[in-house]
């Protein structure tokens, strides 16, 4: 098993791309990439039918390493490009990878509208609760009171819960896991890709360098332990008193609704237009 697990990524990595990669040692981005590869391999998709689009940030560098149709767009806009690609060629499986700042600060508007529109895309948000690439400034998911390079006196803003936001905005599939819970992450990414409509996968991740260091969690191990200790299975969350959930996040599937996606609806428009 371990052998296969380490060998598998090599079937998907680009061999003409120069390594090493840009990430800090121990960064959770690599784990998410591993999960994504395993999910795609499990479903048995062809490399040609996959488009991987990203925004800007450390997370935005995922696509360059893998042998799919890859697109590294502008900060926060990955979903807009993904929308154009999917509508132009619906046979493609389009996966958008974004950071938390990417998806919910600068790209927040695109994110909620993509969820509302329910086009068949898979959005993977790597939530490390900070702007990693630009040096640890606070993001819309930085917890209240935490420190960031632009919040040295403590963050006074309140964090978005990205998954809950996506549910409310109308995404048909929403699930969350963490880089500590990689098996669950593999599973929900695969489900997200397979479900019709807009799927949102939130991967809680570690940026021990920009977030951890400023918040007494300066190593990947400590951050992994934090992820382990703060995740609650969604099935169990209902039984717990609210105070026990206060600084926790749930993992599992938050929404799984089967409804026609945008392309199916648009096909009806085409038929009506041709009759009229």
């Amino acid at each position: 098993m371990p052998n296969n697990a380490t060998r598998l990524p090599h079937d998907y990595l680009r061999h003409d791309k120069k390594f090493p990669h840009v990430w800090c040692p121990g960064c959770g981005n690599g784990i998410v990439l591993g999960s994504l590869i395993r999910a795609i391999d499990n479903i048995g998709l062809e490399k040609d039918e996959i488009v991987m689009a990203s925004g800007i940030g450390c997370s935005g560098r995922l696509p360059v390493y893998v042998d799919f149709n890859t697109l590294h767009t502008t900060h926060g806009r990955a979903l807009t490009f993904a929308t154009g690609i999917k509508l132009a060629k619906p046979s493609l499986k389009v996966i958008a990878v974004m950071g938390d700042g990417d998806a919910t600060a600068i790209g927040g508007n695109h994110f909620i509208h993509a969820a509302r529109r329910n086009l068949d895309l898979t959005a993977i948000i790597i939530n490390n609760q900070i702007f990693g690439m630009t040096g640890g400034q606070y993001s819309p998911t930085t917890p209240y009171g935490c420190k960031a390079s632009t919040a040295l006196y403590g963050n006074i803003e309140h964090a978005f819960s990205i998954a809950e936001l996506a549910v409310t905005a109308g995404a048909s599939y929403v699930a969350r896991s963490s880089v500590f819970h990689a098996k669950l992450l593999d599973k929900i990414i695969a489900q997200g890709i397979q479900r019709r409509g807009f799927s949102v996968i939130v991967a809680m991740s570690n940026c021990h360098v920009q977030y951890g260091r400023r918040n007494q969690m300066g190593s990947p191990v400590i951050m992994m332990e934090w992820l382990r200790d703060h995740a609650v299975r969604i099935e169990k969350a209902g039984d717990l008193p609210a105070k026990d959930l206060q600084d926790k996040f749930t993992i599992g599937v938050l929404a799984d609704v089967d409804k026609p996606d945008y392309i199916e609806e648009y096909q009806k428009i085409r038929e009506r237009a041709k009759e009229g």
Binding site: I56, N69, T74, T80, A88, S91, R272
Partner: protein, 380 residues
Amino acid sequence: MANNDPPKKLLLQGNEAIVEGALAAGCRFFAGYPITPASEISEMMSVRLPRQDGTFIQMEDEIASMGAVVGASLAGVKSMTATSGPGFSLMQENLGFACITETPCVIVNVMRGGPSTGLPTSPAQGDVMQARWGTHGDHPVIVLAVSSVGDCFDITIHAFNLSEKYRVPVIILSDEVVAHTREILALPAGDKIEVIDRIRPSTPPEWYIPYEENSRGVPPMAAMGEGYRHHVTGLIHDQRGFPTQKPKETEAFMKRLFRKITHGFYEIQMTKSIMMEDAEVAVIAYGSVARSAQRAVMQARQQNIKAGLLQLITMFPFPKNAVDTALRQCRSVLVPEMNIGQISREVKRANTSDCRVLKYNRIDGQIITPTEIFTELKDM
């Protein structure tokens, strides 16, 4: 089989003729966000595209519209958006992405009075320099201007053709007057229209180098999902498409972006000369102002003033040679514009003779009339 039917005649406004032109050029994807005076383009696209198995989508804003347009083009479908000043400003970020990734697409900006919300229902030509330099960084773009309903059809087709041929975004500048004026358009039969498509790779996928140098400077473009998997990024990239910071690779890449346009000057730089053969004074104009200028030139000729009109269809790359020729020939030229003088400066920069370059500007949301231009001509 040649179609010998006479051209179909339609009474259309400029915005509608742009849609006809786009569809004739093969546009099958449109993403936009409503804004006066461009909204009719979206509305008509939403009716027409689904009939042709194309796709219309109203996005959440113009940033998203531009992103979707580039995405659709990368997937192999000719695509377009249309907007006006405030929306055009929002498009600049992803327009830059189209420039650096060499993604063909067409952006229509129906100009209205600015800055900001400005005069939403009044004509203006205030976005000329934004069209050229609106997105950040050095970048090549092609900017064309339309002056009539007929232009709206023809120039839109040209815009798509140039965009496909040179892999560059093409901006069409219209204005509120052209957009909403109704004129007869003789719609040519489909097989009378020249349509150019981007060159696709002819090598097998394993040999495909997406940004390889070649003599034209325009690499063949593979659509996503056709076996030519490669990386597309807004970072400066090497010939394989991977990010690079190496000065040599950066410079080679940037130079190619410009070289491909320079090589095409002969066909990209379009101008129209009216009564320029023996002209001693001339008007250099574009957009709806060129219509007034044409009228004024006729009037001047009736009074034995040897006047002519050089109409700029291509604004950028600035048609320096045609302008220079006019300047050498004339004792003075007038550049009337519905802005503070954005193109007159370019004309002055091109001027190497002792021709006098005069400005005439309106920034009050009103059109420039033939009489106003004629009055100026009389004193030149």
